[in-house]
Amino acid sequence: MEGLTYKQVNDTVINTLEPPRKFYFAIVSFFALLFAAGMSVWFYMIVSGLGVAGIRHPVMWGVFITNFVFWVGIAHSGTLISAILYLFRAEWRMSIYRSAEAMTVFAVATAGMYPLIHLGRVWVVHWTFPIPNEMLLWPNFKSPLIMDVIAISTYLTVSATFFLIGMIPDIAAVREKATGWRKKFYTILSFGWHGTNEQWRHYGRAYLFFAALATPLVISVHSVVSWDFALSIVPGWHSTIFAPYFVAGAIHSGLALVITLLIPLRKIFKVENLITIKNFESMAKVILLTGLIVGYAYAFEYFIAWYSGNPYELAIFKWRASGDYALAFWTMVICNSIVPLLFFFKKIRTSIVGLLVISILINVGMWFERYVIIVTSLAHDFLPAAWGNYAPTWVEIGISLGSWGFFLMLFFLFVKFLPSISIAEVKEILPTPKREGGNNAH
């Protein structure tokens, strides 16, 4: 970022919002159609019954809940980067946190669809909310699912607010150049920002408070999601290691997806000067750490299974590694804890190709992690006579693709409507402009 001026930063970022080419419309419509198709499959499933999906007795949760946990996990890196790293004063976050935050909000929204999709009777979903009613019936606050509802909705609210608040100065900058209806749109979103001293002071404090508020949520939301499993008695689920294990896994997958999305983004928008290889290297280092934590958790689960002397627990872990789902299990182990070790090599963690390949592999691995935990534990629990294997059908695959369509559609809309790199914060890390032969800094 050396040698950049404030004006260049402004222009580079605002230029990303220029009217797109036809190709962009094609991509957005493709994802929108994919989303619509996924929704149609969901509708078909509502009409015919959940039996058209592959879930069965005893594997009552399958790809839907896997996707749910996966997307909640994805949603982690955004707040991690924007809030926790903000508090830690990590400068490398400045240019990437905006898109990571957007990813968070969209991923939570995507994740939020799955609990609805997987319900047998989605039309009475409001019973899970504590809505006062004449029957005096409340939801069961002992149920991890209710904790989930609360955790996810809190997280969505806070991260969306944080996202919008953090964007105010940038939107004001965009507003200055926008015309027509876009002007109105940005005017509303900029909340009357004029860049006065007082406003900056308030903004700075608010941002800090939001960061402080969002930080515990990063830990809590995925801990609560992990309790969906840990609070049950199912062997392979009932484990105290789950909360930290899930949080580390979530950051692992979230950062990987940030890398996967940012590499093409910086290329397309030609913002290589703002999002530099240094940013990626820092993320790769965090991934290396989370990869080690996840690998440790995998190993420790086996130790506990053996150490507890619980035959059900031991059987399920043996079966995971050697049974019908061994392929999924080893995909998970290799992609999540072996492959990221390559980031120990500076050459690999600074190579765009290396980063892209590994980040994609990590996301494949993290999806399989959830799949393995959910499916194998249910498929082989206590009574052998009730065992049964699960495989998704086209319905689950269709809805999953639809949710990717939803996420990517939102992300593509985001990069053309909102500044995907924080103008204000990038400027903070630039050297203070100096007067130099007629070059006026803005």
């Binding site: 039996g51 879930i55 009552m60 008695i233 009574l383």
Partner: protein, 945 residues
């Protein structure tokens, strides 16, 4: 606008909105203007009747709600079944409400296809035809082929045909005991099938007789058998099973003597010979000469000691019995009857003074004579009453060709089957629950059936049609009976008050002569002919399926969806092969094999196990219908093309692997318990010794129950795995059937399943069963995880599922260690008229909700409310969930756990009591009692190879 106008307009608008809301679902409904006297909406009527699913003749009580039968139960007063019923009996409702039943008569037109005609017109045409025959002085060309009816319908058919001038009806049943009848005739001079009883029997030998499944009177035998082995009473009756296949019956035996299929005769003769050595009898000695254990045992791959041990057991016993199965021919049965006579079973366990209805079945010779007459053109008109011989008679009878020789075949049947394909007229009749009838299972009892509801399809009974034909032919009423009811009424020879009493009870006792001294008559016994059978070849036997009997049950989907007890297969059958044999011949489970005999060949999937002797193969009979309604057609494979004239006898087969493969569908993937102690067994001498104790730890205060905590005990020593409980549960709780396809996807809806595990601790063969239903845990894992309190704990200890509150997260099922919850993956259909069977006391669940066993909460609530009205507590045994009510062996007991005197509480403290997965502190309300294995009869341990 003033206030008044405003209000006027407001009122007008309001009225407009109200009238505009009229939906088009409004129909003209008509209330009961004059309600029938007996029917009180919401209150069930019970009618006594008789089960006709097999000739055993169990008594029924039929529960009717608002004029339709919703459940059948055993009649507790009936001496045969004493309130119990098997799965086939429970499923008799599906015969009644079968959607494929005929509504009108079918007449074959010139093209050879059926057209519907008014039944009245068809009857007239048949009557005209008979009139013509009589005019031509050819009345003797009229014949009747009937299923086994003893009592009024048999008499009616008899008189009908003899009054017209024809010959005595031929009675055909595929499952017949002609060999026993012949044997009794030759040995004792009594041409009957005698009543047998296991009451207090202390030594039982079954030579291929599956008396817990289909043999003679299975429900009665099952009850008596279970009573005999009541450990608490110190009874230790010994049961040996000699046969080629470990059936449900063989599975509960103390010892399985593995003889090859077809080896029964050698075994019986040798046993007789050995018994003579212990208890000399000259006639028997003569008959069995040359069959010493040493010389014969080798041929049938057993050790001489096994025979000697059996002989000793029988001779020493006080009330022994030997039963010979369907595959035993007459000479084998002679040997068995001689044994019974020598060991003193006659008069104690075998009653020659009480002939069973089976005695009326025509012998094979009579059947052959009849078929010959058809070929000779001596039969012009044949009435087929209720039987389906085309499905059960092998080709060698040439019965199909014989039918084609007959000018007019009239079949009386509720629905089309294989035999109606050869009929000119098919007359639809009522099923046994819809009409009057009388049936005598044995000489000591007459069962009466009454129409418990109006005919579902508005048809009439065989008896009524016969009387009608008779009247239009002769102009007179048969025996002055205008209707079949009158006929039965006259036949019953009872006064008006007696008649009412009989109908109320459902049966009447007959006097039987006291047992006279029965002597063996020597003159009729010729030396047995034993063909030199090569037992090294594979022999196939076919057994009547315990679900479908001779095939008549195949149209009842409840039965099809109950996993078969031997291999847990649904909606299909298979050929059972020995695993060692299969391994040597490269046959694996699910491989389609080609079986060939002299008679023909079939292709059928194989299921290999150690539950069949090495040289034997077995196929359950009753599957493979080509025409039997939507539920019966195309289910499984029939072994008929392979079989001899006596379809139950062993035939030599060649087995060839076709290399093709099909998936036999089973709801469970494995039959191993992995040492998890789910279905436990214990040695008799070690009862109560190796008990594990789990500390009752909990962070929360104990659940307080007020007056009741409902609980159940399941005695695994009594459970035989017959599946009657499952069928009863289907009927009581409106459980949908899902079909083979969905079972393969884990979508079966049974609230109660019988888990089948291999006897891995004690033996290399055999199954161990454990009925698994909601355990109603006090500390239920399903309850806290439900986000909306759809699963909660009631104050009387029930784990309640509120269907209307359920949103379908399915977490409860995930967290249930017993995996007994069922999810409604679809909205399941109940096609017309099967919906009439739905129990109005139980909700029909919609798609997307979880359901499970409720302990039949509707019955609990009813009894509890009644007790409350009467100011008392519910009495022990007053509430019987459907499964408990029907269990033929009384393995299930239900009651109040808070009452220390209740039988369930006492059983819960039994030293054999345990609860699966107890260490998870679920504190379930169901306690299982370990199966007991007698120390002397510990089967060989598995040889680890």
């Amino acid at each position: 606008m003033d206030r008044k106008t405003f209000l006027q307009i407001l009122g007008l608008t309001g009225a407009g909105i109200v009238s505009g809301c009229k939906t088009d679902t409004q129909r003209l409904i008509i209330p009961y203007v004059i309600p029938p006297q007996e029917i009180v909406p919401g209150i069930a009527n019970w009618y006594a009747s008789s089960c006709r699913e097999c000739p055993a003749g169990c008594g029924l009580l039929v529960r009717c709600r608002e004029g339709r039968a919703v459940k059948v139960e055993g009649n507790p007063d009936h001496p045969i079944n004493q309130g119990k019923l098997c799965a086939r009996g429970q499923a008799t409702l599906q015969e009644l409400y079968n959607p494929d039943r005929l509504i009108t008569a079918q007449m074959r037109n010139v093209n050879g296809s059926f057209v519907s005609v008014e039944t009245e017109i068809a009857i007239k045409q048949i009557a005209n035809h008979i009139k013509n025959l009589i005019d031509q002085k050819a009345a003797n060309k009229i014949a009747v082929l009937s299923s086994l009816n003893s009592g009024a319908l048999a008499n009616c058919a008899d008189e009908f045909i003899s009054s017209l001038g024809g010959e005595k009806p031929v009675i055909y049943e595929a499952v017949n005991y002609s060999a026993i009848k012949g044997a009794c005739n030759k040995v004792f001079g009594k041409n009957i099938v005698p009543k047998m009883s296991l009451q207090d029997a202390d030594a039982i030998l079954s030579i291929g007789a599956d008396f817990l499944e289909t043999y003679i009177s299975p429900v009665e035998f099952a009850r008596q058998f279970a009573e005999n082995s009541d450990i608490k009473l110190g009874r230790k009756s010994i049961f040996f099973y000699a046969g080629s296949q470990l059936s449900i019956t063989g599975n509960v035996a103390d010892k399985w003597i593995q003889i090859p299929a077809g080896g029964e005769k050698l075994f019986a003769l040798t046993l007789l010979n050995e018994i003579c050595k212990l208890s000399p009898n000259s006639i028997a000695q003569n008959f069995s000469e040359g069959f010493s254990a040493e010389s014969v045992a080798d041929k049938i791959f057993i050790s001489p000691n096994e025979i000697k041990q059996t002989a000793e057991l029988l001779v020493k016993a006080k009330r022994p019995i030997v039963m010979g199965g369907l595959m035993c021919d007459e000479e084998t049965q002679i040997a068995i009857m001689l044994i019974n006579s020598i060991i003193g079973a006659i008069g104690k366990t075998v009653f020659l003074n009480i002939p069973l209805s089976y005695s009326n079945i025509s012998t094979d010779e009579e059947l052959d004579a009849f078929i010959n007459k058809c070929f000779e053109g001596k039969i012009d008109t044949l009435f087929i009453l209720g039987t389906n011989p085309i499905f059960t008679m092998p080709k060698s009878y040439r019965f199909a060709e014989a039918l084609e020789k007959i000018r007019m075949v009239v079949a009386f049947t509720p629905m089309l089957n294989e035999t109606t394909e050869y009929a000119n007229y098919v007359i639809p009749i009522n099923t046994p629950l819809e009409d009057w009838d009388e049936y005598q299972p044995d000489a000591s009892i007459r069962n009466y059936q009454q129409p418990v509801m109006e005919s579902v399809f508005g048809v009439s009974s065989t008896g009524d049609y016969l009387l009608e034909i008779f009247k239009s032919v002769t102009g007179k009423s048969l025996k002055n009976s205008a209707t079949y009811y009158d006929y039965i009424r006259t036949n019953s020879k009872s006064s008006e008050s007696e008649w009412k009493q009989i109908l109320g009870k459902g049966f009447a006792a007959n006097n039987v002569s006291d047992s006279e001294t029965i002597k063996i008559i020597s003159s009729n016994l010729s030396k047995p002919k034993v063909q030199a059978m090569n037992f090294d070849a594979i022999h196939l036997i076919s057994n009547p399926s315990y679900k479908y009997y001779d095939g008549r049950g195949a149209n009842k989907p409840w039965l099809s969806e109950i996993p078969d007890a031997s291999a847990s297969i649904v909606w299909e059958n298979y050929v059972a092969l020995n695993s060692k044999f299969a391994e040597l011949n490269g046959i694996k489970n699910h491989d389609i094999v080609e079986l060939t005999t002299d008679a023909g060949s079939i292709e059928i999937p194989a299921k290999v196990s150690t539950d069949i002797e090495y040289h034997s193969a077995a196929i359950a009979f009753g599957f493979g219908h080509t025409k039997y309604g939507r539920y019966g057609t195309g289910v499984g494979y029939t072994p008929l093309p392979l079989l001899n004239k006596n379809i139950w006898s062993a035939v030599t087969i060649q087995i060839k692997n076709t290399g093709r493969w099909t998936k036999l569908i089973s709801p469970s993937d494995t039959d191993l318990q992995y040492q998890r102690g789910i279905s436990q067994a214990v040695l008799l001498s070690e009862i109560g010794k190796h008990k594990k104790h789990y500390e009752d730890l909990n962070m929360y205060p104990k659940v307080q129950h007020e007056t009741y905590r409902w609980g159940m005990t399941v005695d695994l020593d009594k459970c035989i795995g017959c599946g009657a409980c499952i069928a009863a549960c289907y009927a009581e709780n409106n459980i949908p059937i899902v079909g083979k396809e969905l079972v393969s996807k884990g979508r079966e809806m049974q609230w109660l399943r019988i888990e089948r595990y291999r006897e891995d601790e004690f033996a290399e063969y055999g199954n161990r069963y454990i009925p698994m239903m909601c355990q109603h845990c006090e500390n239920a894992p399903c309850e806290p995880v439900c986000p909306v309190y759809a699963a909660y704990h009631s104050k009387d200890g029930l784990n309640v599922q509120v269907y209307n509150r359920c949103i379908g997260t399915r977490y409860c099922s995930n967290n249930c260690p017993y995996k007994v919850r069922r999810f409604n993956w679809f909205g399941y259909e109940h096609p017309h008229p099967t919906h009439l069977q739905l129990n109005p006391d139980v909700t029909v669940r919609d798609k997307g909700v979880m359901e499970k066993c409720t302990f039949c909460v509707q019955r609990i609530v009813k009894a509890r409310d009644q007790a409350k009205d009467e100011g008392r507590l519910v009495r022990d045994g007053e509430i019987k969930p459907a499964c408990v009510q029907t269990c033929p062996t009384n393995a299930l007991v239900f009651g109040n756990l808070l009452d220390e005197e209740s039988s369930v509480s006492k059983l819960r403290n039994n030293p054999r009591a345990y609860r699966p997965i107890e260490e998870y502190n679920t504190r379930s309300a169901i306690t299982y009692l370990q199966k007991v294995i007698k120390d002397d009869y510990v089967p060989k341990k598995k040889n680890k190879v």
